[in-house]
Amino acid sequence: MNGQGGAITIALTGQPNVGKSTVFNVLTGLNQYVSNWPGKTCEQRIGSLNHNGLEIQVVDLPGTYSLTANSVEEQIARDYIIQGQPDVVAAVVDAASLERNLYLLAELLSLPSPLVLGLNRLDVAEKQGLHIEAHVLEAALGIPVIPMVASKGQGVRELLEACVLVACNPHEYLPNRPEIRADHKAVMQEISTLISGRVPEPYPKDWVASKLLEGDEEVGRMMQSSLEERWQPVHDILLQHEDAFLAVASGRYEWIGRMVRAAVVRPKPGQVTVTDRLDRYATHPVWGLLILLCALGILFFFTYALGSPLQAWLELNVVQAGAVWVSTLLAAGPDWLVGMLSQGVIAGVGTVLTLLPILVIFFIGLGVLEDLGYMARAAYVMDRFMHPMGLHGKSFLALFLGFGCNVPAVMGTRIIESPKARLLTILVAPLAPCTARLTVVALLSPIFFGPNAWWISLLLIALPMGVLLLMGKGLHEFALGGEHTAFIMELPLYQLPNFKEIGKGVWQRTLDFLQGAGTIILVVSVIMWALSHFPGGEIEESFLAVIGRALAPVGNWMGLDWQMMVALLTSFVRKENTIPTLAVLYGAGQDGASLAQVLGGQLVPAAALAFLAVQVLFVPCVATVAAMVEETKSWRWTMLSVGLLLVISLSVGVGIYQGARLLGVGV
């Protein structure tokens, strides 16, 4: 990557909430490529631009507070800087909380790549009464310091120019580097001597010594295997100095204090800021919950009040019209081709298309809440309820919105920073009862249960939520190690949302969804159509029916016949598909018989309950599975969740029917 064909690579780093992604977007425009870091479930954004004929690649590193391998993000950021050896690292810091932000810079300075500091959000700092002299800071640090207000595009070009200048003249780069606190200098020296000559390339020796003292496990393992028999004396010293990492951390902060002293003019103490005033309510145990409910209510309202009519419109005017158009256009063509296009391809495209309005509105809502700085408050308010399950306060937000549709719930988990909590939320998200499954319950339970339908429906809505809690707890304890991540997080300052940036984010995420999940949905829709069509052209004699008949023994344990099993299988494409499948298989419409008439007498109440219980707990629809694959970047975890749901749903179904038989009720 380094210097290939005259190209320059800039790595963009910064703590979370400093406006780093805004800088990235302004620099690269829409010329960006999103994928995952190799082997990690963490998003990698790379963009490119041309500056005065120079080809420049910008790598957006994950936002991290430090570079100790505490999290996947930190590991990725530091591995990239050390091993990828970018020509220059641009560190974006929030001027309004300069001291804490410079902590990452202090760590970056001990790595070989040259640095440029982007002093962002100067406008916010000024509003807080903080005045920062960029040139004084520049003189103290010995690296270029660029004043910026990235949200207004100010300073981004200057940052780029400074980066190019530093990258082209690496020998003129002479930074002022922080040192360890005086009382630990001797021991640091001792370790440096012991590891000298055995530090693997391209790791800098002093950095490795400092990380060993900080107790960094990854560096410890690396040096243990590299030093072999000479590890023991190093290990002994480290054991005697287990407190050293605080000396390293305090050393960095003391150094930061010296750096900023001359450059920063502070406000008079005791000023009450807008953020303080808003937080009195937003983080209050009672008011905070009410505000959260209102925020979610509004988001929910917009998603469905605007999204549902749009969905219906698209369904009628694009999807159905498209199917009719294809059938007329190809009237002379073979039946299977018309069928595949109108029922397979268009059904798949339709699923994707009708999801779009809801997803776009949902992404905008989340973007606004996040940009406002409210998301951290919502997490703070909800955390005490979600923590025992290993979930994060922000998991609640994603799951709550999954009540409408599981796809935005899965996609919404991106707001959760902790990778474990995020994965766990994705794995349980299909259990949030979605409107499609509620439609099936609402349509079928009056047919099956008559006057008792209302309370049985409520039970059927509560069932997946109960399973969600149990499965969350179980996965947390057994599959994800059970440890609680410490609850300690920054509450960023409130700020007005930047709609231009939100718009770009929504666009990018919608494209991601279309490319990734959209493709899977389309392919699976066509496959499911083929299974229901071939070999004979009728679903009764199709491969799907064959599979359904093969599953009849499982169905028998639940009191269900093969038609019911086929209906469950077709619900994989779209949950609502259960209804038309049942109608076709039981011959509704023939001799004017309605679905209620043909289905009413088919099942005893216990079997009907088992059927609907399986329906609400069953394998999520293909769109949700595709979104899960897209977000976890792992078929293994997705299949674990899908497999678990399959086992749980069938077990509950069998349990209900067999239990009822034992008790002699409803059979």
Partner: protein, 93 residues
């Protein structure tokens, strides 16, 4: 390397050890100086990178004596659980 599950105690000798309180004890508006951090390496590392190092001044912003609390330090606000706050010892000023 050291066993990660092992709890680690880090003590920086305070001028007056009797005056140490946990961060939970600090009333709203009260200020303390961080003297000691305890707990696992992961927690102390995260806390340190968020600014909790010995000698730093911390002001309590919200503390309802149950549930998580909010403090302000180094020009930022940090929210933390009570379980985490008891691991941070401060000298009240």
């Amino acid at each position: 390397m050291t066993n990660p599950s092992k709890s680690l105690e880090v003590t920086i000798i305070a001028p007056n050890t009797q005056a140490l309180h946990t961060l939970c004890d600090l009333p709203v508006g009260g200020t303390g100086i961080v003297r000691q951090l305890s707990g696992g390496r992961e927690f102390t590392n995260v806390a340190a990178s968020l600014g909790f190092t010995p000698g730093v001044e911390v002001t309590m912003v919200q503390n309802y004596h149950h549930g998580p609390l909010i403090v302000s330090l180094r020009d930022t606000r940090v929210a933390l659980g009570r379980g985490e706050a008891v691991k941070i010892l401060v000298e009240v000023v």
